[in-house]
Symmetry: C4
Subunit: 230 residues, 4 copies
């Protein structure tokens, strides 16, 4: 299967999952003995917090997924099915988000379990990512081979999420809100720290400008120093 096909399907799943996240924001309509809308919205803060964190997380999964597959030349059966497993966890994120939102202020045991479930789903997603990256390096599926140093760095960065999410499962049993905040911090980290998976310059942009385009996502017009292997 060519990479574009797999990405298109995965993107469809990301787009639906990220949009379904908002279904959980729904608050009931007005009624005779209901609190004011302001009170309801304030009371609903765990839903908004969980929505924001999950949206950022799925958004970053999408960005990193694209960065990874852009540099993969061929999808073998293993990558295909590990990717399906990744999507399995992505599709579970709206459920896990709704659960942590509903139970964040419940009795300690329930809140911790809900948070652990949420972190567990993200851990599963993260492990799939690390697996796919590791498999692609090992079986020589990358378009632009990484140097040993770059490969190590990329593995660390991909793997970092997995380690933090595991730590987060532990933290969930101390404080559920803290573990949710941790997921938000991971998202912020990945927004500012790009994975060093550098594909070849895309063919459409061939010509003098391609060297600058070698990074999957450029941080700016001037950051292409040291990216000369494209």
């Amino acid at each position: 299967m060519e990479s574009g096909r797999l990405e298109a399907f995965s993107d469809g799943v990301f787009a639906v999952a990220i949009t379904l996240l908002a279904l959980n924001l729904a608050i009931g309509g007005p009624g005779p003995h209901q609190p004011t809308l302001a009170a309801k919205l304030a009371d609903h803060w765990p839903a908004f917090a969980a929505y924001t964190v999950s949206f950022a997380t799925v958004g970053i999964i999408w960005v990193n997924h694209h960065a990874l597959f852009r540099n993969i030349s061929e999808i073998d059966r293993t990558l295909l099915f590990v990717n399906l497993l990744l999507l399995f966890f992505v599709v579970s994120i709206p459920f896990a988000t709704a659960t942590i939102a509903a139970y964040l202020r419940a009795g300690t045991g329930d809140a911790s379990l809900a948070a652990a479930l949420y972190l567990g789903v993200l851990e599963g997603m993260s492990i799939c990512f690390t697996l796919m990256f590791w498999w692609a390096i090992r079986h020589d599926h990358l378009k632009a081979a990484l140097s040993a140093r770059d490969a190590r760095q990329a593995t660390i960065r991909f793997g970092l999420g997995s380690l933090i999410y595991i730590a987060g499962i532990g933290i969930a049993f101390v404080s559920a809100p803290a573990s949710l905040a941790l997921v938000g911090l991971v998202a912020v980290y990945y927004i500012f720290e790009q994975t060093p998976v550098r594909p070849q310059a895309s063919r459409e942009q061939g010509g003098p400008g391609t060297a600058a385009g070698a990074s999957p996502i450029r941080s700016g017009p001037d950051d292409n120093s040291g990216q000369g292997q494209g």
Copy 2:
């Protein structure tokens, strides 16, 4: 990341969000002590009004999003994440629509808050749009550079929405239905007034006809006067 990839994912989110809007139209089934369907539908008018206004708004976001990105040659990290923030607001529109529909006829405070929330989500979306446009001009990411006059005009047109939505938040505290109507008027304005982001003629339609195709969306076969920079 190439522009097509980002657009495809964004379009997926737009398509899901615009379709989820209709979930809020659902009315309960018939029952022993229920009013007639006609009475229910009539009573349900805020849902239909909010649905129509939001549909038009998301539709126009889609059109303008495409017009903007068609003229962007390269997606840097800033554009990528501001676009994710834009999608965050787009994904929130079904929730904001459902809330304004449910509270439009509630007590004044609740109706105004619901309308302010709705306008606030659109304001956030609009600011992201203006930001992306301004960033693309400043950092020279446009395929076809705009003249100073065109850039000023385009900034005004993109920025106009932001200003009106801010005004609408104020209006929401006077009359919630008026602020909803205002959003409808903005949609009508954007239907008839295209943003002057003019990309180069697409390669597929190369040849004698390209000059006429220089505008992202042509108003008609004869309106290509003064569009000679493509």
Copy 3:
């Protein structure tokens, strides 16, 4: 806007709308005083009937939409916004389907109103289709010009749906189930009767085989007689 972009977004909306149709099939879980599942499923027949008819209808809209836009060389602003209006009706179909399913066996007035609403949404969709086709012919946006006879025939076929749906609104006030059945018959008609919008052979399939590929959807390997204008 190029045709492919508009089609991709429209296809996204079609795909989401057609899948959301099935949400309305949901039946409650088992309970102490509940009828058996068999009884529930039997009692739920209007939902299954409406789902089947709406699925076929949206499926055919998709097929015809593709056949129409494949032969359109350029999307002007009018086509763009009439297409958005078409999507507005498409997105409303799951709501209209749920309503006719819920009220099909309600008191005569309610059932008729629900059916008229359903037919009305399809009528709106159908009028948008006819409008787009008529606009494309009038403003010379077709890749392969139709002969006067073919244009007349195509207009009749596109317009036929509109006429039948209007008739169906009348029938709805006599018998709601009959009007639902009529929509099913229209779907069956369009399955077996293709619209004569014949685009040029696509470039990818160029070569000796293209003449046979001139029809948007071939009925079979031997039906390419009289299609020599491609």
Copy 4:
């Protein structure tokens, strides 16, 4: 209609359907007389089991659908509408999944009927697959003709699912959980056993590497023995 267009629409439907599966996982929020979250999750196991089995099944339908259409050179009207019928069953899977999950532990009659309904939907999907494959072979729509032996083998593999699902309908009336487990086993079988529909090497990957790329999905870098007809 070209194959890519049909695949893109089908993929959209697959992506939405696979993501909607998770809506059924939702568990209620905490409350005064509610069991703990752990008890609720444990009690909810049929939903998780059905979700997992259905996710794997839809994922595999997607993989096989792509493998089939990648080798089909031309979509005729029959393939188009049998594919729509396939999508009809795919769209029904979330409903059938929710029903089997809700009734798996209900009284024997209800559980068996729910399981038979679930298997029946999969049977319908499977028959559409076999039909499309058989039609493509018979009417010579394959890009790379299969040898008689390969065609026989592929028919058996595609048809195997149909036979097992039919058997599963019978098993449903003995044990509903056993029939759900059977569907899971079929999914595992298709993960490890690829259908021998071998398209020509895609043009983008032309060159010395294409012979190895002749299989739609490679099991690994070394399994390209005996695939020389590409």
